[in-house]
Every structure is written in structure tokens, then in C-alpha cells.
């Protein structure tokens, strides 16, 4: 297992190098100049040139990349072009917010989707199943910005059960009130997929001989469903949860914008608009690392869920 983990971590190195080169090139080849953003669109040319020099943007691209990499290997992600402080400070401030959003969102998704999927499969073709399928289709058709605004309108503006915007630490009750609607919003985007997957996976498993055998043994129905049915239907569900968790992390921008959460999605999009290269590069690297970590965790979860799977 240790050797397997080490192998996976080593595989991550070329991935991160590739990501850093790609992001660097894409950013620098995109039209737009951070010096103009800082100077303001109406700044005289000499001010723009002065800022370009002070940022090193007047140097050839390969020199800029070499400098970036040499700083990176020393653990220095550089300083934000706009805010003038360390990129690491931005990442450490915003990553926990996005992580909290995605985590609570995934927990919410699992809590809703898995029972719904199991029940729909168990009561196949019943009114419950049809209702679930309808809800899933409706949820699938609803873009995140729409569901976010609807939730905001009903629960924060009309009923005033939750705050409209902002983020507080989850160590406090207030923190949970702040994260509830955003988490439900990001989760709602994933619920349809996970419900459908759980349902179809369960349907497949429930028709297997070993499930019939379990019932013939006289096991209680709940035990048949959970131990013999759901455990065997779990592998594809774990894969999707892992992938979706990664997507929720990197795709939280819209939700973060609607609910004004100071997370990484907003940080990176704002940085892209301002061509704040160091912040974008640092953020994308952190996201890439997180994706790698999640995929390793998913592999480990396979082994935990299915004893036949062994690594190393």
C-alpha cells in the first residue's frame, strides 16, 4: 500500500509540472496586460511601462517562467500583482472556505441522493420512483445560478431563515447558517447525477443471485439492502462522489459569487480578470494537488468498500 501511495504521489509530479507550464503559457498568451489593470485603463504609457518593468513583464517569456519555477521549488509562490501580498496568504485564506463549501455540499448530496437512489431502486416503477426520476430531471435542468438565487430568495429574503451572504468559521452555529444555502446550492447540482447512479447501480445489484440468496437465508430486508445490496453498489458511487468533490472545489465560483463567499473560485476568477498571474498559477496548482489527493483517496476508499481490491 505504501509503495502504491508513493507511486501515485510521484506520478503527480509530472502532472503538476505540466499544469504549471500550461497555465503559465495560457495566461501569458491571453490578451490583456496586468500593468494596465494596475495602472488603470487611462494611465499614461510611461506609467504602464514602469509597472511592466517593476513586474518583470518586459522580459522574455522563458525568463519569466524560469524565474517562476526557481521560486516555486523554493516554496515561494510569489506575490499578488494587485494586492501586493504573498499568494500563499490568499490561498490559505480562501481554500478552507471552498473546502468547507464543497465538503458540506458533498455531505448534503450524499445524504439526499443515496437514500433517494436506494428507495427508488427498491420501489422500482412505484410512484416514489417516478417522483424521484422527475425530481432528478428537474434538478438536472436547473443551472446553479438559478437554484442559488431561488434558494436565496425563499430562505434568506422571504423567510429570513439564513443570512444572505458571507462566510463564518464552521466552529460556530453562525458559520453553519452561512454555509447552509451555498452548500445546498452546490450540492443540488450533483444530486441528480448521484441519485440516478445509485438507483441504476442498486437495480443491477438487487437482481443478482447473492441478493436472492441473502433473502432466502431469512435476513431482514434492511440488512439485505444495506449489506448485500448497497455495499456492492457502492464502487461507482464512490468514484462519482470523488470526482464531483473535485469539481465542486474547482467549480464553486458561481455559488461563491451569488452568496459572496470569500473562496478560491472567486479568488481565481477575479485574478484571471485582473491578469494577476501569480495568484492564478498558485490557485490552479493547489486545485491540481487537491484533485490528485482526491483521486488517491477514492482509490483507498475502493479498497475499504470492497475487500477484493488490494493495492501494492
Amino acid at each position: 500500500m505504501t509503495a502504491y501511495l508513493m507511486g501515485r504521489l510521484l506520478q503527480a509530479v509530472p502532472v503538476l509540472i505540466g499544469v504549471s507550464v500550461l497555465v503559465f503559457l495560457i495566461l501569458h498568451l491571453t490578451p490583456g496586460n496586468p500593468a494596465i489593470v494596475i495602472a488603470g485603463p487611462d494611465a499614461p504609457p510611461e506609467i504602464v511601462r514602469d509597472i511592466e518593468r517593476s513586474l518583470g513583464l518586459d522580459q522574455p517569456l522563458y525568463v519569466q517562467y524560469a524565474k517562476y519555477v526557481s521560486r516555486l521549488v523554493r516554496g515561494d509562490l510569489g506575490r499578488s500583482i494587485q494586492a501586493h501580498d504573498a499568494v500563499l496568504d490568499h490561498l490559505t485564506a480562501t481554500f478552507p472556505v471552498t473546502l468547507a463549501l464543497a465538503s458540506v455540499g458533498v455531505v448534503w448530496t450524499v445524504l439526499v441522493s443515496v437514500p433517494m437512489g436506494i428507495l427508488a431502486a427498491y420501489r422500482r416503477n412505484s410512484a416514489l420512483d417516478l417522483t424521484t426520476i422527475f425530481a432528478v430531471l428537474a434538478g438536472n435542468a436547473m443551472p446553479v445560478f438559478a437554484s442559488g438565487l431561488i434558494l436565496l430568495y425563499i430562505f434568506a429574503i422571504h423567510l429570513r431563515w439564513f443570512p444572505l451572504t458571507g462566510y463564518r468559521s464552521l466552529a460556530t452555529l453562525d458559520g453553519w447558517r452561512h454555509i447552509a444555502l451555498p452548500a445546498i446550492t452546490v450540492g443540488t447540482g450533483v444530486v441528480p447525477l448521484l441519485t440516478r447512479l445509485t438507483r441504476s447501480s442498486m437495480l443491477e445489484v438487487l437482481n443478482q443471485d447473492y441478493v436472492r440468496s441473502a433473502r432466502a437465508k431469512g435476513l431482514r430486508e434492511a440488512a439485505v439492502i444495506v449489506r448485500h445490496g448497497f455495499r456492492n453498489a457502492l464502487l461507482p458511487v464512490i468514484t462519482v462522489i470523488g470526482l464531483q468533490f473535485g469539481l465542486l472545489l474547482s467549480g464553486a465560483f458561481i455559488t461563491e459569487s451569488i452568496f459572496s463567499l470569500p473562496g478560491m473560485g472567486r479568488l481565481i476568477v477575479t485574478a484571471i480578470q485582473a491578469r494577476d498571474f501569480p495568484v492564478v498559477q498558485g490557485g490552479v496548482l493547489l486545485f491540481s494537488l487537491t484533485f490528485v489527493a482526491i483521486s488517491i483517496l477514492v482509490d483507498m476508499a475502493y479498497a475499504a468498500a470492497d475487500p477484493r481490491i488490494r493495492y501494492g
Partner: protein
């Protein structure tokens, strides 16, 4: 129950309990002296010399003070300087500083702080605003209450530069202690202003507490300090709908920007105060004179006659604006009323006639005009926004009616400004906000090419008058120079001024807002009260 089942049930229950608090309801809290300002963007840095962003200015005005202050009638009033004398040749400014001013850290404020600030600003590598004081040669501090600025050449708009947020006076000790991190967070900022930075969560909130020792507010406020408000929270809500809703549900008491399409609805609901004001702004379409056929005055004039500004104001601004004859609004010192007699009123028949007479013929009715085998076709660069999204198709349709093809290309904001600087446009849509008639120098001086002089306008006569407007010590001569420049610009049809937009802010009904300080909005918030 089997151990594995128990584990499953336990995990399920634990996760449910974890999520439960999120479902608990409750109303947001708040106390009377805490004022929440729902803003559209985040402060980049609290080092005022490193940014020109509006969102940074909002916080700078609260934390810092400037030497002079700008009143709503665009006159300059004392602030940290209680008076100043300008030498007859306009090259020496002597400021007498207010006594009894202290930094938030406790140290007395002196002229050495002003000298340090201005010297740092002038020499700071990469400062986007240092050009505002580039005329300063040396700064002297002969005694703790006096600062003398020696200029290389007279600069009539120097006081405007010294009233801006980027000229906030800094504490040298704090700047040197924090070094490159100055202005990046709590403990790395010191000012003499009415509010002290207590907490800053980027992209969420900035919390400022009242400076209890503040007694030196500028006379543009009734209250010179301390502020009536105990705490100010600058809360970033970038999306329009949640930002307005925050004021409606009481999570915030003020927002500086109400989209025009929301104004009628909010007025009917009547739950908020809607305050309308007119700052100095102009939305316009600019021409790149170096690109054919825009080097042809007749084409530029025809386009000016061919655009219906009132339709744009109705369609894109929901009636919240005035048609613009030129860049300067009527309340700008230096505005020339004669412009109204030579401005281009909407007259599409005249536009067509001018194009016909100029040789731009339509091969068939409704076709694109052609001259010397070349079609009358223009690349129109713009960046999406609520108003621009409506303006561009209106302009495209109107000019098509004249036989002019417009090819709109929308670019994201940063790419848009880069493209303009690279001169890729034939015509472009843009807005400008300003505080003095010096905006003319900014846009039309030949040395300001390629930006902000994106018109390619290089005219010795214009340059001569613009130089006079900056360097003359005679107010009459300066105003005459501004008038002359306005006449040249209109006669040469360098652009199509479209609209001076009216601004609307929303405030809760318990907030007392005595004045909106134009583009500076609530400025230092000294007179604000929550009832």
C-alpha cells in the same frame, strides 16, 4: 445489528447531525451604531500609492486623511492642511498643517510625515498614480507645521491630485515597519482618519472601528469628529441582486450602485431610500482617427448626426441620464455653454446627405455605402455591461440605417483595454468619470497617445491650449483655454458623446445621508447616522 451495520448507521447519524445546525433558522444580528456598506468590489491594497481602484478609495478615505478635501461643488477645502498659499508664479505651494492631529497608533502627525509620503509616492516604482504629482520638484518641511512644495512647472490641478485617495498621508514608521507588506492587513496600516482597521477578510468584509480621538474632519462635513457610527463594515457583494437584497432585508444599510432597471421597482416598493445624484461622467463612442475612413471629418460628423442619444437613454439607462453634447457636464468648472450651439443634434437625414455629398454611395437601397471601391465598415470594440449590452445593438442598427456597417467585437474588460492600447479599434464604447476639466488634457493631449488618447488626436493648437489650462496662473486664461479645446473637439467630431448618466444609490430608511460626495460617495462618513 451487525458491527458493520452499526458503523454505517453511526456514520449516517453523525453526518446528519453535522448538517443539522445548517437547517436551524435565525435572524441576522446587528446593533445600531454598526453600519454595513454593501460594496461592489474588494479593496486591492490599503497602500494608497499602489492602486487607483475605486474600492480601495472607499477604505482609504475612512482610514487616512489627505492634505485637502474635495467638496460637492468641486472646490477644495482644508483637511490635514488648514490653509495654503500659492506663489504668484504658481510654482510654490506652502501648506500650514492642522495641529493636534495624531496617528491611530498615537504618534503626533507632523510635516515630516507629509514630506515622507510625497517623496515616497514620487519615487515609488510601479505606482499607478505618481503622474498626478509629477510636477513636484522638491518637498520641504521647514518646521513641524509647514510643508512647502516646489514645482518644476505650474500645475493648476495639483490640489485635485492632493485631494484624491492615492494622496492619503502615510505614517513613515508604519510603512517602514511593514515594508513590502504595508497595506495588506490589520497591523500593517496606520492613518489619521476617522476609522481604524480591525478586521479584513478579503472578498468578504472589512471591519473598521471609530477612531475616538478624531477631531480634525474636513469642513465639508458638519461633524468634524468623532464619527457618529461606531463600526463600519465594508461588505463585498459583487452580484447586483443579492447586494440590493442585503439592503432590503437589513443585512446592509447602503449600496453605492443600483442598476437602472431596478430603480422603478424599488421606488414602487418604497422600502428603501433611493438617492439620485449627478457626478461627472460621460459615456461616449470614440473614433480612431488614424484608421480610414475615420480620418474623414464628414464621416465622423455623419455618425454624430446619426445616433439618437435619447433612444439610448430610454433603452439602456431607463431614462436615468441626460444627452451629452461633449465630455464635460454642465456643472464642471470650465464647461462652455457655447457647445450647445455647435453640438450635433440627432438628424439622420442630414447624416445621409453628408455621406452622399462626401461620395459614400449606396449601390442599392439599404446596401452598405461604398467609396473608391471600399465599403463603409467599422470595427466596434466594446466590453459587456448592463448599459453597453443595449447601446451596441442600438448604435449598430442606427448606423446600418445610414448605410454604415458596424462590426461589434465584445471583449472581456482587461482584453478590451489592451486591444484599445494596441489600436485595434475603428470605434469603441467607453465611459469616463472625472472631477475637473483636466479630463480634456488627459484625453486629447498628443502625448497621451495611445491611451488614454485613443483617438490618435495630435493637434498643436489643442496641445497649446491644454498646456495653458495646466500651467497658467490666471483662472480666466485657463477657463478660456478649456473653452477653446471644447470647441476644437466638437468641430472636429472626435467622438460621439452619448450620455451623462444619473447615479442612484439605495439606503435603508433609518440611515441619515446628508450628502453624496459625487464619485467619492459617502467619503469619510462623518455625518452619517443610523436612527
Amino acid at each position: 445489528m451487525q458491527p458493520r451495520d452499526r458503523l454505517f448507521v453511526s456514520v449516517f447519524l453523525a453526518l446528519t447531525l453535522l448538517a443539522m445546525p445548517a437547517l436551524v433558522s435565525g435572524a441576522p444580528g446587528g446593533s445600531a451604531p454598526t453600519f454595513t456598506y454593501a460594496r461592489t468590489g474588494e479593496t486591492e491594497t490599503l497602500d494608497p500609492e499602489k492602486t487607483t481602484a475605486v474600492a480601495s478609495a472607499e477604505a482609504d478615505f475612512l482610514i487616512y486623511d489627505t492634505l485637502v478635501s474635495l467638496d460637492t461643488d468641486y472646490t477644495y477645502k482644508p483637511s490635514l492642511a488648514e490653509k495654503w498659499v500659492i506663489s504668484p508664479d504658481g510654482k510654490t505651494y506652502t501648506f500650514t498643517l492642522r495641529s493636534g492631529v495624531r496617528w491611530q497608533s498615537g504618534k503626533p502627525f507632523t510635516s515630516a510625515d507629509v514630506k515622507y509620503t510625497l517623496d515616497r509616492w514620487r519615487t515609488l516604482k510601479g505606482s499607478p498614480s505618481s503622474f498626478a504629482i509629477s510636477a513636484i520638484d522638491t518637498v520641504d518641511a521647514p518646521n513641524p507645521q509647514t510643508v512647502v512644495l516646489h514645482l518644476k512647472t505650474p500645475l493648476s490641478v495639483l490640489l485635485d491630485g492632493l485631494a484624491g485617495p492615492f494622496s492619503s498621508i502615510l505614517n513613515p514608521d508604519a510603512v517602514q515597519k511593514a515594508d513590502a507588506d504595508y497595506g495588506t492587513g490589520v497591523g500593517k496600516v496606520d492613518g489619521t482618519g476617522p476609522f481604524i482597521l480591525r478586521e479584513w477578510v478579503r472578498n468578504d468584509r472589512m471591519v473598521l472601528a471609530r477612531n475616538p480621538d478624531y477631531r480634525w474632519g474636513p469642513p465639508v462635513f458638519k461633524n468634524q469628529g468623532p464619527a457618529h457610527l461606531g463600526t463600519v463594515i465594508l461588505k463585498v457583494i459583487t452580484q447586483d441582486a443579492p447586494r440590493l437584497a442585503a439592503v432590503q432585508v437589513g443585512e446592509a444599510q447602503y449600496t453605492p450602485s443600483v442598476p437602472p432597471q431596478e430603480v422603478d421597482r424599488l421606488a414602487k416598493e418604497g422600502t428603501l431610500q433611493l438617492i439620485r445624484y449627478q457626478d461627472l461622467n460621460t459615456e461616449f463612442i470614440g473614433f480612431k482617427l488614424g484608421h480610414k475612413p475615420l480620418d474623414d471629418l464628414k464621416v465622423r460628423q455623419a455618425i454624430n448626426y446619426g445616433i439618437n442619444k435619447r433612444e439610448i437613454i430610454a433603452g439602456a439607462y431607463y431614462g436615468l441620464g441626460e444627452p451629452a453634447d461633449e465630455v464635460l457636464g454642465r456643472s464642471t468648472p470650465g464647461y462652455w455653454s457655447g457647445v450647445e450651439k455647435i453640438a450635433y443634434d440627432y438628424d439622420p437625414s442630414r447624416a445621409k446627405r453628408i455621406l452622399d455629398e462626401d461620395g459614400w454611395k449606396q449601390p442599392s437601397p439599404g446596401a452598405i455605402r461604398v467609396k473608391d471601391g471600399k465599403p463603409l465598415s467599422l470595427l466596434f470594440l466594446w466590453t459587456p455591461g448592463p448599459e453597453a449590452n443595449s447601446i451596441v445593438p442600438l448604435v449598430q442598427a442606427e448606423l446600418r440605417g445610414l448605410g454604415i456597417e458596424v462590426r461589434p467585437r465584445s471583449l472581456e474588460l482587461t482584453a478590451f483595454f489592451a486591444a484599445l492600447r494596441a489600436g485595434e479599434h475603428d470605434i469603441f464604447l467607453i465611459g469616463v468619470q472625472y472631477t475637473t476639466a483636466d479630463v480634456l488634457y488627459f484625453y486629447f493631449k498628443s502625448t497621451q497617445r495611445p491611451a488614454p488618447n485613443r483617438f490618435d488626436w495630435a493637434d498643436p493648437e489643442t496641445d497649446k491650449y491644454l498646456d495653458i489650462s495646466r500651467t497658467s496662473t490666471s483662472e480666466t486664461e485657463r477657463m478660456a483655454a478649456y473653452q477653446k479645446v471644447q470647441e476644437i473637439i466638437v468641430n472636429n467630431a472626435l467622438w460621439v458623446p452619448l450620455v451623462h448618466a444619473k447615479r442612484v444609490v439605495a439606503a435603508s430608511k433609518n440611515l441619515v445621508v446628508p450628502k453624496i460626495y459625487n464619485a467619492n460617495q459617502l467619503y469619510k462618513m462623518l455625518d452619517l447616522e443610523l436612527k
